[in-house]
């Protein structure tokens, strides 16, 4: 794909994010407002995308729910990036036994599928939205740590960095002045990809009922409700499903295009 394709997908992703973040202004009504008369109402009229099993507005809930899903996924990505930078940075910068120990810990966490790890972590935390985001973030961090470590080691082998070290620059100075600046764009590209995974895994935890209250909308919880009433009101699942798929596809393709533009990518 050309760089232009990447930009177009970035536009799509930003449009979905903007629409959901602007939910308080676009759809000012409460996503929790029930209306017994509109129960299972088909799309049209006052409910452009239909109403759900409590007569709540699907369009309203899909945008408010997207806002919650995106904010939670951003928290999860923050945890993954922070943890990955810390562990991968320490392992790459310090080397020797620190590197060995941290990477064995990473191996252990990667010895099971990421989604299962996140589900198991929910058992240790509590059942709630923030906890689910933490669990997903922690389950993504080991993969991030590996990428950061390889990138850090790559920078340390550059001649000018070795020259800086030979001139007596401290490890911290080398890290903040050279390493961080050089791995920056790679970290951002991988963070974008991780954001997509975080959205999917969080939606899955929501779907399984392993996060917050069922009445507070997120895309995953709306999909779970839509699954229950597929026969009677298929429109409940349609809006959150379409928005989630569009956003994840756009993020994945943006990340791919970005990585291809990086040197050696």
């Amino acid at each position: 794909m050309k760089a232009g394709g990447g930009l177009a997908w970035l536009g799509v992703a930003l449009a979905v994010v903007a629409a959901t973040l602007a939910a308080p202004w676009l759809v000012p009504g409460s996503p929790l407002a029930v209306n017994a008369e509109a129960q299972f109402g088909p799309p049209g009229g006052a409910y452009p995308l239909g109403a759900d099993s409590f007569g709540r507005d699907v369009l309203n809930r899909a945008l408010w729910g997207g806002r919650a899903s995106i904010l939670n996924a951003a928290l999860a990505t923050g945890v993954a990036v922070g943890g990955g930078l810390l562990v991968g940075g320490l392992a790459g910068m310090l080397g020797s036994w620190v590197d060995w120990g941290l990477m064995r810990a990473v191996d252990v966490m990667l010895s099971m599928p990421g989604l299962l790890l996140a589900v198991a972590l929910v058992a240790l935390l509590e059942v709630g939205d923030v906890q689910a985001a933490l669990a997903v973030g922690i389950s993504l961090a080991p993969g991030f740590a590996r990428i950061v470590r390889v990138a850090v080691i790559g920078v340390l082998q550059q001649e000018y960095v070795q020259a800086a070290r030979a001139l007596g620059a401290s490890r911290w100075r080398v890290f903040s002045r050279h390493v961080l600046r050089n791995i920056g764009s790679q970290v951002v590209a991988f963070a974008v990809v991780n954001f997509g995974w975080a959205l999917l895994n969080l939606a899955t935890l929501d779907f399984l009922g392993l996060s917050g209250s069922p009445s507070d909308p997120t895309w995953g919880r709306m999909l779970a409700e839509g699954r229950r009433y597929l026969r009677r009101a298929p429109w409940i699942a349609l809006a959150p499903g379409l928005l989630l798929t569009t956003l994840v596809v756009a993020i994945t393709l943006t990340g791919d295009a970005w990585r291809r533009r990086l040197p050696g990518g």
Binding site: V108, S111, M112, P113, V122, V127, T204, G209, T245
Partner: protein, 311 residues
């Protein structure tokens, strides 16, 4: 080669030991009294909870608990559940056949679709069929089970009424779940098949075969496919682990019994020994598959063993 096998095997055992230790520590880091939490909805009296704690050995000092835990693991004993009190291995064994049936049939779907899409997009690169199949592989990669599931249920169970949306036991109950789960893994396989075939087709031996006058189809099937197979084996092994994770969601979607449902129920009840058992089982299966794949690689290509020993 023997040295490589031993090194990798020791690595596997150490990883599993570390995973077991990690889960042991994690379970004991949970604040509060987890047994009381697990029994909270049964209104158990404090002395019942105390007796359950004693029966579980949770009143012993942690090193004693750890030694007992490791000893039990070696004998294949994962302890008893906090909720029902039955052995964890029994609970897992009852649910395992349903999940294995789902995961293997989904793997069949994924392999067929993956080879089909990957083969077509390599054979028709730059032309319409190739573009369509590689786009389909991309869609399969980006669509999670929670979206493809409701979509296929709506299409095949509700609109067309060909297949049941829920239920268990009969073959037609398995088709839709296997399809949903298989499609989610097919995209990854298709990409690797596609890339492997293209690389093989660019090799001199493929040019030679073409120069001898073989049809493109014969070059692809007889010469390129065997060479492309090795990385595909790795991906299939990895995807099987991924399928075990996907089974958690698929079982919920189709209201099926299985390990995934067991895990979700255990998490909601905070039945930590049961969660621990399922986690250790999946780590065992996942790491074991990786180990076997490494062995297969080293056996097929002696250079791999030498490289990994040096690394």
């Amino acid at each position: 080669m023997a040295g490589f096998v031993i090194r990798r095997f020791v690595g596997l055992v150490l990883t599993l030991w570390a995973a077991a230790t990690l889960t042991f520590v994690a379970v004991r880091l949970v604040p509060g009294d987890p047994v009381a939490a697990a029994l909270s909805d049964t209104n158990a009296a404090p002395d019942v909870i105390a007796r359950r704690r004693a029966a579980l050995g949770l009143d012993q000092p942690p090193p004693v608990q750890y030694a007992r835990f490791l000893g039990g693991l070696l004998r294949g004993d994962l302890g008893v559940t906090w909720y029902g009190g039955e052995p964890v291995t029994l609970a897992i064994r009852q649910q395992l056949p349903a999940t294995l049936a789902l995961a293997t049939s989904a793997m069949g779907v994924a392999v067929i679709l993956g080879f089909g899409m990957g083969g077509l997009s390599a054979a028709f690169r730059g032309r319409l069929p190739g573009t369509v199949t590689s786009a389909l592989a991309g869609v399969s990669l980006a669509t999670p089970v929670i979206i493809s599931g409701p979509l296929l249920i709506y299409l095949f169970a509700i609109r067309l009424d060909w297949l049941p949306a829920t239920g268990q036991g009969r073959l037609d109950n398995l088709i839709l779940p296997a399809l949903v789960l298989g499609i989610s893994a097919a995209g990854g396989i298709a990409r690797v098949v596609d890339a492997g075939l293209q690389e093989a087709l660019a090799q001199p031996f493929a040019t030679t075969a073409r120069a001898k006058g073989l049809t493109p189809r014969k070059v692809l099937n007889r010469h390129a496919l065997p060479v492309a197979l090795m990385p595909v084996l790795t991906v299939i092994a990895l995807q099987f682990g991924f399928l075990l994770g996907g089974a958690v969601v698929t079982e919920s979607l189709f209201a099926r019994q299985g390990i995934g449902r067991l895990l979700v129920d255990a998490v909601l009840r905070k039945d930590l020994p049961l969660v621990q058992g399922v986690v250790l089982l999946s780590a065992f299966v996942y790491s074991g598959l990786n180990f076997l794949t490494d062995l297969a690689h080293a056996w097929l290509d002696p250079r791999v063993g030498a490289e990994l020993v040096e690394a």
